[in-house]
């Protein structure tokens, strides 16, 4: 899509997945409001960045320094590059969940039992207290709102990555205003609302399952089954602040991708592990164990 910079008049090519562009001639930031499209709605909310680029770099450097001993050589001192603050599109889902549940509830009780043992060469009978579990079936109903499920609407940031840097403080949500995006990269949703709704529903059901697990009485439970109906569903497009960067630890190796929550500073990335170091450590451990066994058998 071609847009005209309304500051200097230059014609600029805007990538299909972006909402903002900076003019290379006059440095003016333009926000492009596209025409109505049900698969690509306008955002309802924005969460503004509160972590600056300097803070994001520091967080990334701290995170790299704290990687495990088995990380590949150079990871701890890797150079951070391509630091970009991006407003990532995500859907905020809420609904009312009503469930029917059934489970076996374990209630513990104590019982005295007799047993025989040998003492000083004689067989004696003794008693001891043992804890037993009585299993009782329980079924019932459960109802609760599910207010804050956030799922990615961007193919550029996987839902697992978004979950890893959550939570976002949703009390600080603002009504969408182009001024909040000015000067920053902002993505358009690259996943459809219906795809995101399915992911959000799965997450909502998982959350209800966790709530139900904590809702069970007794000392323990097993075989918990739920049948949950989600009603009054709502999906709002939201732009969330994420710092994305690459940490290069070796010339020819793929860099480590790091994502940081632009509001809380929470960091996520996959640490590349050195199989050489892991193998060496395993061999060293085996050698120590063998030495101990040898020493003991010799003694």
């Amino acid at each position: 899509m071609d847009v005209q910079c309304s500051s200097c008049g230059a014609r600029l090519a805007l990538e299909e997945n972006l909402r903002t562009i900076e003019c290379p001639y006059c440095a003016a930031s333009s926000i492009v409001e596209r025409a109505a499209d049900p698969e690509r709605p306008s955002p309802t909310f924005v969460l503004g960045f509160s972590v600056s680029q300097i803070q994001a770099r520091e967080r990334a450097a701290d995170w790299l320094r704290g990687r495990s001993l088995f990380a590949k050589k150079g990871v701890h001192k890797a150079a951070v590059e391509n630091v970009r603050g991006v407003y990532v599109p995500a859907y905020l889902y809420s609904s009312a969940a009503t469930s029917g549940f059934s489970a076996d509830i374990g209630e513990e009780y104590q019982r005295t039992e007799s047993y025989t043992t040998t003492e000083n060469g004689k067989t004696v009978t003794k008693t001891r207290r043992v804890t037993e579990t009585e299993w009782r079936p329980l079924s019932g109903r459960f109802a609760e709102y599910i207010p804050d499920v956030l799922v990615t609407a961007s193919r550029g940031l996987a839902n697992e990555e978004l979950e890893a840097i959550e939570p976002f403080d949703l009390r600080l949500l603002r009504r969408y205003d182009p001024a909040l995006l000015s000067g920053w990269a902002a993505e358009e949703p690259s996943m459809s609302g219906s795809q995101c709704l399915e992911v959000a529903r799965r997450e909502a059901l998982e959350r209800t399952g966790e709530r139900l697990s904590g809702f069970m009485p007794g000392d323990k439970h097993r075989g918990l089954e739920q049948s949950t109906e989600l009603s009054n569903e709502e999906l709002d497009l939201c732009l969330v602040p994420v710092w994305v960067m690459a940490a290069r630890y070796r010339e020819k190796a793929a860099p480590v991708r790091i994502v940081i929550n632009g509001q809380s500073g929470e960091v996520h990335g996959e640490t590349p592990l050195s199989w050489l170091k892991i193998g060496g450590a395993a061999i060293a451990l085996l050698a120590v164990l063998a030495a101990i066994v040898f020493a003991l058998s010799g003694a």
Partner: protein, 325 residues
């Protein structure tokens, strides 16, 4: 709800809970209240300009607002509100300072074996302060799901699991926001307030002070929801869980139609002195018969009671020993 208390703008369309005018989402169920943006018919390019120097501005993470890189001016944008809100409704004092003083006199004259006999005669009033203490009063409906262990239907174990779901209507439930009064004092006072007398402005003794709410809106909402869960839990334990004893009661509350009003409730706090020590008493600001506080104990009377008890036990043992011979 009273005239003075109607400040909420509208209700959430999912749970019918009252919303403040600047709420973007329902605080109870999370439904967006912001009207959906109308998408443009054709693409349009927006440049956000500095209102001072007309340069293009960028959002600043440090300022958390758009800030001009040339002249440094910060653009005003809508920011999330979390104000510390003050009382909307005042209940008038219907107990005068004189009546409160007399109530203290009656409290001191109450007969009790462990109290000093000269308490009413020797106690002197040290201070009396009329105060409006802050409280949230809510109305709501709730669908309450619960599970618990109880002794009803127990088999080999002492407990059997139970579950249920019930609807409650909460009317004028008071949640204290006071730091000056203890939770126990507030609980004892709340039953006797005539909430229908609420007015927009305070009416009472000229020297009366107003204790301010000191919790931001989001914190207050959390406290109110916790209070509703506690109230629901109490009602379920009392009326729903079968058997004579129970444990591990868990409730899940689905609220609807929640309306909260911030009240200022009248009370007198009095301090009296007895033998150099100060004791506090609270008198209800609308019902002088509701009075609570501390009174000194008589040391020798407690000793006498302990001795009498020991003597009684001794005599009982002696009688038992003699009877077995």
């Amino acid at each position: 709800m009273q005239e003075a208390a109607k400040v909420v703008s509208n209700g959430c369309s999912r749970c019918q809970c009252a919303l403040e005018p600047d709420d973007l989402r329902c605080p109870v169920c999370g439904l967006a209240t912001a009207p959906a943006r109308r998408d443009a018919a054709a693409a349009q390019v927006v440049i956000v300009r500095c209102q001072a120097c007309r340069a293009s501005v960028s959002y600043s993470a440090e300022a958390q607002a758009p800030k001009c890189g040339y002249c440094g001016s910060v653009m005003r944008v809508e920011t999330p509100e979390d104000p510390v809100e003050q009382a909307q409704a005042f209940l008038p004092f219907t107990v005068s300072p004189d009546e409160a003083r007399k109530a203290l006199g009656r409290f001191l004259a109450r007969k009790s074996w462990f109290r000093p006999a000269d308490l009413a005669a020797r106690a002197t009033l040290d201070a009396m302060k009329p105060v409006w203490w802050p409280a949230w009063v809510f109305n709501a409906k709730a669908l309450v799901s619960w599970t618990a262990d109880s002794d009803a239907g127990a088999g080999r174990a002492a407990w059997a699991p139970h579950s249920g779901q019930t609807s409650y209507v909460f009317r004028d439930v008071v949640v204290s926001a006071s730091r000056g009064l203890t939770a126990k004092e507030c609980e004892a006072l709340t039953a006797d307030y005539a909430l229908s007398m609420a007015a927009e402005s305070p009416r009472g003794p000229a020297e009366a002070s107003i204790e301010r709410f000191d919790t931001a809106r989001s914190g207050a909402r959390k406290l109110i929801v916790e209070a509703i869960e506690k109230e629901a839990s109490g009602r379920v334990a009392k009326a729903e869980v079968p058997g004579s004893k129970s444990r591990k009661l868990k409730v899940a509350v689905m609220l609807s139609g929640l309306e909260t009003v911030r009240y200022a409730l009248p009370a007198y706090t009095l301090a009296y002195r007895y033998k150099q020590r100060l004791y506090r008493v609270v008198v209800h600001g609308q019902k002088a018969e509701t009075i609570l506080g501390k009174a000194p104990y008589s040391g020798w009377r407690i000793c006498a009671a302990v001795l009498a008890g020991a003597l009684a036990v001794g005599v009982a043992i002696a009688v038992a020993v003699l009877a077995t011979r």
